[in-house]
Amino acid sequence: MISAIGNNVAEHLAAFEREEAGMGDITLFNSIHSGKLPVAEVKLDNNALAAMTGMPQATSRTALLSLVAAKEALIDAAIPGFESLRTGFVSANSVGGMDKSEDFFVEFLADNNKGKLRNIFDHECGSKTEIVADQLGITDYMTTISTACSSSANAIFYAARLIKNDIVDVVIAGGVDALTKFTLNGFNTLMILDTAFCKPFDEHREGLNLGEGAGYLVLVSDKVAKTLSKSPYCKLSGYNNSNDAYHQTASSPDGTGSYLAMKGALEKSGLQPSDIDYINLHGTGTPNNDSAEGTAIKRLFDPEYPPMSSTKSYTGHTLGASGGIEAVFSVLAIKHRIIYPNLRFETPMTDLGLLPEKRFLTDQDIKHVMSNSFGFGGNCTSLIFSAI
């Protein structure tokens, strides 16, 4: 994975331990919001990413970030006989090639003879997946999911279903999003950005900080799992996607969508709420999400709450990548027996009283982790990972 707090898994673990968030000033592009809105940028520019991946410098940042993370996952998985297996790539993103298109548009609008068409011919989300799949040598199945902030969580359980239905043996699944002016300006219009570093689940939260990055898991069938030389991190034991059909961009105040997603994931896994050892919250820091998600958690878990935190307090909201990045955090929590802190949390939400973890905890007995990703349009997904 790659995000504002690290370029690979090891760097992320170190950042969590140091309790160091990745937010800062906008450096990737000129923006009217410079100096006003903090963002969580990956600390490598496109030239550096291109050098790392051997791709042309003009490649869309979306494809570059995706390739860095997906490659790391594939190498880590060390699947014997990969070439002879049925392989798939399910990747999510919301921004596609917008990083290139938004620059092209300015030149082109001023003069229809200006602007490089090669920067926009593959603007759509699916072409970013295709670029990366080609580089990874994926031959049998490839698709793109784009459901805003729940995108890569949906990609992960879609991948699981592909394996369950014996369509593929190995799937790299997750997602990516790159920071763009389009996204920054759009979110600013919705008035849900914080001018300070976000405070998820805090009574005085003011909004989210946009981030960028990519996170992928490699899922395999039981058959392939038996051939691996190192044991799998964990299994995906439950998942659910539900929609509360309430509003284009807001969740219903009683958290119906979130509640249905979490409840459905628990049912699928056969677990009780009390079996969950840690919840990786969607926790964007917006008044609406945290209140709706908190209400849903109260409905489901009250009076016994597992430890919970929003890692967006470190990485910002990575949009289409958030489900994937946070799935990786969930899997690492089980493997390394850790719980991540919810940075900058001070005051619980008045009517809910939920208390996220404030410190980085080690030596925890983590058997089951729930990871929430709730997207615009009410598209709510909850994943459950379990130790084997």
């Binding site: 600013n188 219009t189 008035m191 284009q248 349009g377």
Partner: protein, 206 residues
């Protein structure tokens, strides 16, 4: 195993007139568009405060669907997932996009921003009626009855849906036209066969 599908109701709103099944139900030719839409809403006593938040495209489509479905459509005959919506227009959400763009200089308006996508009208109709079936919104130069017939027949013939609202909903500033068809698998009294020819005949009468 192709069974016939039927147009069991149609509704159009254009040039200040509301038609249902080719009967004129309401007329208000003198008003500009926003006032006209409000007068339709009030006339049919549709009672839905969210109406006031919608952009003109959503208001137009929502009103046409409201008139289409009143008196004669029984939602309880269907599961929510069995009713879907397939619409098309030429101007996408351009009407709202332009209004939104006006506000960008001095303070972009979130309430206009959330309508800068043409398929939101489908969302508004679905939320109001609790429809959970498949839906799609196409952008085309003109109403293409053959295309719509193909899309909707596919959904009905493959049992993906058992009822579908389809048609054309377009707005750009003061120009507007909505023509909707209710398509079901059962034949009711006064129903006509669901075909491109029959849709065109109704569409062109307006």
């Amino acid at each position: 195993m192709l069974t016939e599908n039927y147009i069991t109701a149609s509704c159009s709103i254009s040039d200040g007139i509301v038609f249902k099944d080719s009967q004129q139900l309401f007329e208000n030719k003198s008003a500009e568009l926003s006032a006209f839409l409000l007068s339709v809403y009030q006339h049919f006593q549709l009672n839905y405060p969210k109406f006031y938040k919608m952009d003109n495209l959503s208001k137009l489509g929502w009103l046409a669907a409201g008139v289409l479905l009143k008196d004669g459509f029984n939602k309880d005959n269907y599961q929510p997932e069995e009713i879907g919506i397939v619409l098309a227009n030429a101007n996408s959400s351009l009407d709202d996009d332009l209004k939104y763009l006006e506000t960008v200089k001095d303070g972009p308006s979130p309430s206009l921003f959330v309508y800068t996508l043409p398929n939101i009208v489908i969302g508004e109709i679905s939320i109001r009626n609790k429809f959970k079936g498949e839906h799609a919104f196409f952008i085309q130069d003109a109403f293409d009855a053959a295309f719509i017939e193909k899309q909707v027949s596919y959904l009905l013939d493959k049992d993906i849906l058992r009822a579908c609202i389809c048609g054309w909903v377009d707005v750009l500033e003061q120009d507007y036209k909505a023509v909707l068809f209710l398509v079901e698998k059962k034949k009711s009294e006064n129903a006509v066969l669901f075909s491109a020819e029959n849709m065109d005949a109704i569409y062109k009468k307006i």
